[in-house]
Symmetry: C2
């Protein structure tokens, strides 16, 4: 496994790659959700590249950029174990040198859900992914369904800017009690941890109600909110049932919808989602 510590080094390693390249962009502190993406990248391509970069541009000043968990040595060990070929670990100043001023923005679908709660977040995500795609030049890039809106935004960016890669969205990997794997789960105290699966439980409740014929979004969301309210220390940021294309809230479920939610459990803000229809 090779480690590229600069853009130049990564581009140079890329020129030596033969066959197709599968790419998994991450912010490190890896868990089995990430590793599943890498396994898919490795299986479907000749070369698997993983980037580890805690992207300052996607954190607001009041968010957890400096506190975000980091452990490069452990990450590299995990990546080597699943057959990663190249790890790309650029420095902040390499990615955003002094005077940096170019941004890629996707409008419309970024105004809802995570974009409403975190107004500058997606500009940071699309910009860094655009850069990473240009540096790594993958044939396929792999994202987790846990960050559903992120995957949709990046797919839209790639399609609309005519970029030459395919975005592949892989199922959310969960702990045994249903909690979606996330680097931010590490913020949960042992006391808080049991309550954290309330996101998954409410999504399953939504699934059940839908299966039993309920189509009024408001009724499903109210039942989900009631369930969350019973979890100690849980604070709802949003619960949404939205059109899968536009991400605008729907009142009546007819086509495919994204049921998604953001809930604070103590310190961390956790997100999760399922698709219905």
């Amino acid at each position: 496994m090779k480690i590229a510590r600069s853009i130049q080094e990564m581009k140079s390693l890329r020129r030596q790659c033969q066959g197709t390249v599968g790419f998994v962009p991450t912010m490190g502190y890896l868990h089995d959700g990430h590793l599943q993406l890498v396994r898919n990248a490795k299986k479907e391509n000749s070369v698997a590249v993983v980037s580890i970069f805690v992207n300052p541009a996607q954190f607001a000043p009041n968010e957890d950029f400096s506190a975000y968990p980091r452990d490069l040595e452990r990450d590299c060990q995990m990546l080597e174990n699943v057959g990663t070929d190249i790890v790309f670990v650029p420095a902040d100043t390499d990615m955003y040198p002094q005077g940096y001023n170019t941004w890629v923005i996707v409008q419309g679908i970024t105004q809802y859900l995570e974009g409403r709660s975190r107004p500058t977040h997606f500009q940071g995500v699309t910009t860094v992914c655009n850069k990473l795609f240009n540096i790594v030049q993958p044939d396929r890039a792999y994202f987790g369904q846990k960050d559903a809106q992120q995957a949709l935004v990046i797919q839209k960016m790639v399609r609309e800017l005519d970029m030459n890669l395919e975005i592949i969205v892989c199922p959310t990997v969960r702990e045994s009690d249903g909690l979606a794997m996330s680097s931010r789960n590490t913020y949960l105290t042992p006391q808080e941890r049991p309550a954290a699966n309330v996101l998954y439980k409410s999504l399953m409740l939504a699934q059940d109600m839908y299966n039993q014929g309920e189509r009024v979004a408001g009724k499903i969301k109210a039942a989900m909110a009631e369930l969350v309210s019973k979890a100690p220390g849980a604070y709802i940021d949003y619960i949404s049932i939205a059109d899968i294309e536009t991400l605008a809230d729907v009142e009546e479920i007819s086509g495919k919808v994204l049921v998604s939610m953001a809930v604070r459990i103590g310190k961390p803000r956790l997100i999760d989602n399922i698709i219905l229809g």
Copy 2:
């Protein structure tokens, strides 16, 4: 010479190209300035690709998008004569399908000069160039020095998004009286045409004053403005002496500066520039 009329067709032709690709993005209605770019692209690369696309995104609603001169047949004849290999002529709806919502923006240097007079212009330019670069995947793209700010903005975008091509800026090609070649010169009436070289004359005046030791930007700009005011039908939009990196106006000329101007002569708004220092 092959003509690609869709993004898909262009990408497919690109896959068949061997060696390096030189690319000249244009809005058509070609003149010798464009042809000089194509000659350079052809000389320095195995394959020369030219796009013709009047980009709606870089025109404001009050500007001349629908009136912008078009003559595809004549353009193709001229391009064939200089050895162009592929002409890419996408449709508006192919480039900007319904619901299109992704934009590339360069902040900072776009707030001055053309960006101040045309606030949405550069977002359209950077977005379309980003898309064209992804579609054509050139090794080198060629731009004219006449649009000095455009070239700087695109160079910054390419550098900051880590795109894999080189931007090459070629000298402005001029008519015998010094008027910079531009598709918009076609708007000049025979009566207006003689006055149109006042831009070049004032730039030469600036050059002379600089050569004689003048370093106070205000004095040079005042002399240029006075000269322009004597040309019948001329209306100054801006005259600027700016730092070549930031494009912010300078008071005292010390390093390299861009002397640039936009002047209306009757209907058309013409721009021109030189670099001093």
